[in-house]
Amino acid sequence: MTTSGTGSWLLAALLLLPLVGAAVVVALRGNDRTAKLAALGFSVAEFVVALVSWANFEPGGARLQQSFSFDWIPAFGVHISFAIDGIALVMIAVIGLLVPLVIGAGWADKLPEGRTKGGFFSLILLEQALTVGVFAATDVFLFYVLFEIMLIPMYFLIGSYGGARRQYAAVKFFLYSFLGGLIMLASVIGCYVLAGDELGKGTFDWATLVQVVHDAPLSTQIWLFLGFFVAFAIKAPLVPVHTWLPDATAEAPIGVAVLLVGILDKVGTFGFLRYLLPMFPLASKELAPLVLVLAVAGVIYGSLLATGQRDMKRFLAYVSIAHFGFIALGIFAFSSQAMTGSVTYMINHSIATGMLILVVGMVISRGGGSSRVADYGGMAKLTPLLAGVLLIAGLSSLSLPGTNSFVSEFLVLIGSYPNAPVYTIIATVGMIFAALYVLWLYQRIMQGPLRGNALVGEEPLAGPSTGTAGGVGTLVDSAVGAKKAILDLNLREKAVLAPLILLIVGLGLFPKPVLDTVTPTVDATMCAAGLVDPVQSAERQLQCP
């Protein structure tokens, strides 16, 4: 085994901790409470390790840090090798943040008959370990393997714990992603063969492959590019290969939807940055217009469809599709500002949309499980705090300045404008639609008179002076016909949302720590792809090694 740089053990811990956690939690699944506490403990520990790893990371240092590697299949030059760069690091940190929150949010959820909390949380931890691996893998074959294995826990998370049509959604999700993965496999092998021709011995090592494939002729690059691109575009997802996401999001339990949209999908855009641009610079430049068209189409199409949805969870999926359009735009506009914007967008989207999904989940849990928008209305009266957090998450989704998403969307757009003005103008118009769908949802659910089947409406029974945080309303449980109170946010929910709100405002006002971590990696990506910033300044400049 070879390691380089300091802190390899940190990365190893990041990979192993959730794995061990998953095993422990599944062993403890007999006792709900212990299993839940163990899951929470492991996920918090993982987050702490991620923060320590961030503290140990030198933004100006080597591209790949905290690396370690050992042989896996020597005959084919396959290694198990991991390392992190600035982009992978922040993504791993965001995963570390979201998983404890997802566990906290799912603490009291009802699961389908015969399923245990332990099983559920252990699958989540397993998924976490695999996604950390995907982001940290520096062997392309290992990346491919993890990229595919990652689907399995998610398949079960959707298929076993989801809503009524969960089987359909899970199979659709799996088939889509798997198809993309297989096409990518062809390209992975193609790269291996290319390296074999060039070096005499094939390799899957990412850093070596970048050097080799980099110089391949355009026609070869285009085919290899397309193989990777299809996989990443499905994962991201870009229009028109997006239709698995609404189904999967709608059927998945809320926490899983957060992981799906907040983390799993980011693998696609991460792949754009890590694999497409440095490995196939010629093809990237050649095919950039294609990607830009898909990206901008996604922005507009996703936004319009979001306004047309009748189901809150499907709405969230289309919102994400619009946001992924922005991310793809920033990556393929070829400027360090836009690319940094895209990376921060990946984080901020996880935080903002993650929070939006969690809040919508809280709304749904108060409405007896219905996710139809028409079943709600005027909730702000009963649950003012819930309305407030929904608005905060929504405002971040529409990129209001002062929230984290503004920084990233602004960077994407301002960085894209010099190279791709027309696409940028269209995407900027998408900002109007963003306001439209967010405020539309807020108005339908929270404002107006109390209405909708989920909250059969009576005025709050008690005044503001009762012990609960908000007023108390009544709910007719459709199955039993019994009434129960609709309460405002409880302490656990506040604890789940507070860190997200803090980050939304904090990263909106002072994004420098994240920008400083990400920018050197983005610069390295730009340099590897042979790209030059369209707007240059005398003092502050993109630095190539």
């Binding site: 047309g308 705090l385 910033d533």
Partner: protein, 651 residues
């Protein structure tokens, strides 16, 4: 023009009192944060904290003003660098403040009127269970508005720009269980966003062409840019201004915004936020003063002139107290936009009118609020009338504001509006006549609809005596408490005196920020224009007296009216146009796309899956179970293989 550009290069780092300028933002923001996070615990003293932070900001603003005043004119442009906000390689968006005469003028307006309206709201909102949250939102607004005017770059301006949009959204939708309020709030935010897109695109162009979004760099380099760049930035900035300031073609949200509580209408939708567009154009004066920006300025003037007419015409036909005032605001901001569109000859007058308008329009709105407060929230002027004796203080203060607005000699509006009309005439040539004429006509119309308002609300017979309000209560009009009347009195004093005082000192005071006032002399002398304006206003007021003052007005509005009145009642079809051009096609497009996505895109995917399943089902039928048919297919296959081999062999 050259003066500004030279001065722009000499921005200095602030020291002393000015280096603490961030206090201006932090004070109200702190108030908002405490009130929002503290929740119900702060109910008892929330309104006091909210008011205190804004008053403290005002006091600090005055100190800052005196400090700046004590400096020489060339030292009055100062920057306060706070931190790097969004630094990525060549892009460096800093979070900094620009303390200069222009921003300080606005700081004083915002915190001054803001303090008064906070005090007013203590009384006005005393019955509201959520008064504390109301003050939090008001504080949020003040903080965002201060950031808007204090930011030292276009991105910080944009931050404040959307921040005030948010506060405006929250406050318009204050009565959120009413659908119309929620819809009005959404509409306001959306139409503002349309403008924001313009502002955002202007910022993108600045970064592309000049590599920065900070005022100092942009204004230093804008002169070297091509005409196309300058004009496109100018027009995009104007689009932003149109959204925020309710200018044509984005004026439709402002009247709807009156769904919010009246103090909000006074502070946000009359005195401060809606004038942000004027601020933006005045702030960008180095750009608009360029000879290349001639076309952009023409567009600005056209927008201003068209809007001021639209506002006047619609204002004549509405029966809702606050909506008439709202259209009056639209039209007065049209004057300001027209003024700043005139370039160096008009910036100072635009700002002057903005300030005097801040006084009298806020006063008029507060008066309207006071009337509605005493009249069970009745806003239909046909159901009011004869209230002068019931509410003497409100009547007197309101009348002073009214006189100031219509340009009664030597009150505020007389100095500011007449100056704009004169400046428009002195533009010279056909343009001067057209814009001057429109502005003059607008003055007459303003006098007409404001007089109508005065007569229907305060004079004439008390038509409400035999009526009941919507909730079935009888009307018992009464004067409001001191927290409400005090701000009205202060604002009335301002309406009377501000114009006379400010018109003398403002142009010189603002010179470091927006350049020297260029006095041009048009075909008509200023005295003649002043006389003309007063005469036309008098004619407008007299006409209103003749039409409304001398006969009894019906409580329900007449249905059979001429076409112009019908058109004016329908907002000159602005909403219909928006509905027909954007809303309806948008809804249909969305429905169509949802259908396409479910049936088309997803249908294709599911279709492929179904196709594979279906064709496999068909192929399965080949397995008949008869050994002999398998044997036949084997034979056929073998023959094919042999034939293929032979063909290859002998081809």
């Amino acid at each position: 023009m050259t003066g500004t550009m030279n001065l722009a290069a000499e921005v200095q780092q602030a020291s002393g009192v000015a280096s603490m300028a961030w206090l201006l933002l932090v004070l109200p923001a702190f108030g908002a944060a405490v009130l929002l996070i503290g929740g119900k615990r702060t109910d008892k003293w929330g309104h006091l904290l909210g008011s205190a932070t804004v008053i403290a900001a005002f006091v600090y603003g005055v100190v800052l003003f005196l400090d700046t005043k004590s400096l020489g004119a060339e030292d009055r442009l100062r920057d306060v660098h706070l931190f790097d906000w969004i630094p990525v390689n060549a892009l460096d968006v800093e979070f900094g403040l620009r303390v200069d005469p222009l921003s300080l003028t606005f700081v004083l307006l915002i915190t001054g009127v803001g303090s008064l309206i906070h005090i007013y709201s203590i009384g006005y909102m005393s019955d509201d269970r959520n008064r504390r949250r109301f003050f939090a939102y008001l504080n949020l607004f003040v903080a965002a508005m201060l950031l808007l005017v204090l930011g030292n770059g276009f991105v910080t301006l944009y931050f404040g720009w959307e921040g005030v949009g948010l506060a405006s959204y929250l406050l318009i939708g204050w009565y959120q269980d009413k659908d119309f309020a929620a819809t009005a709030a959404k509409k306001a935010f959306l139409m503002n966003r349309v403008g924001d897109v313009g502002l955002a695109l202007a910022i993108f162009i600045m970064f592309k062409t000049m590599g920065s979004t900070q005022y100092d760099v942009v204004f230093a380099q804008i002169g070297n840019q091509s005409t196309a760049t300058v004009v496109s930035i100018g027009i995009l900035l104007l689009l932003g201004a149109c959204g925020k300031s309710g200018q044509f073609p984005l004026q439709a949200w402002l009247p709807d915004a009156m769904a919010g509580p009246t103090p909000v209408s006074a502070l946000i939708h009359a005195a401060t936020m809606v004038t942000a567009g004027v601020y933006l154009i005045a702030r960008s004066s180095p750009l608009y003063s360029l000879p290349q920006a001639e076309d952009a300025r023409l567009v600005v003037m056209i927008v201003g002139a068209v809007t001021l007419l639209i506002g006047c015409v619609i204002g004549c036909a509405y029966d809702d107290f606050k909506k008439v005032l709202a259209y009056s605001t639209v039209s007065q901001i049209g004057y300001m936009i027209l003024a700043v569109g005139l370039g160096p000859a008009g910036y100072a007058f635009g700002i002057l009118h903005l300030l005097t308008h801040g006084f009298f329009k806020a006063g008029l709105f507060l008066g309207a609020g006071s009337v509605m407060h005493g009249m069970n929230d009745e806003g239909n002027i046909r159901r009011l009338g004869g209230l002068a004796r019931k509410m003497p203080i409100t009547f007197v203060t309101w009348t002073l504001g009214y006189l100031a607005l219509i340009g009664f000699p030597f009150l505020s509006g007389y100095f500011s509006k007449d100056a704009i009309i004169a400046a428009a005439f002195s533009e010279g040539g056909g343009r001067g006549w057209v814009f001057g004429g429109i502005a003059l006509l607008g003055a007459g119309l303003t006098a007409f609809y404001m007089t109508r308002l005065l007569i229907l609300v305060f004079l004439g017979k008390p038509r409400w005596e035999n009526l009941k309000s919507e909730d079935g209560r009888a009307y018992h009009p009464h004067e409001s408490g001191w927290t409400m009347t005090l701000p009205m009195i202060v604002l009335a004093v301002g309406s009377v005196g501000a114009g006379a005082i400010l018109s003398g000192i403002l142009p010189e005071w603002l010179t470091p920020s927006i350049g020297e006032l260029v006095e041009e002399h048009g075909p008509l002398s200023h005295t003649l224009i002043a006389v003309l304006t007063v005469a036309i206003s008098a004619i407008g007021a007299a006409t209103a007296f003749v039409v409304f003052g001398r006969r009894e007005q019906p409580v329900t509005r007449p249905a059979r009216v001429s076409f112009p009145v019908r058109a004016a009642r329908a907002d000159l079809y602005g909403n219909h146009l928006n509905e027909a051009l954007f809303a309806r096609p948008g809804v249909w497009l969305t429905r169509f796309l949802v259908f396409v996505d479910n049936r088309g895109v997803d249908g294709l995917v599911n279709g492929i899956a179904a196709g594979l399943g279906g064709s496999s089902g068909r192929l399965r039928r080949l397995q008949t179970g008869f050994v002999r048919s398998y044997a036949l297919s084997m034979l056929g296959g073998s023959i094919l293989v042999i034939a293929a081999l032979l063909m290859v062999r002998f081809a």
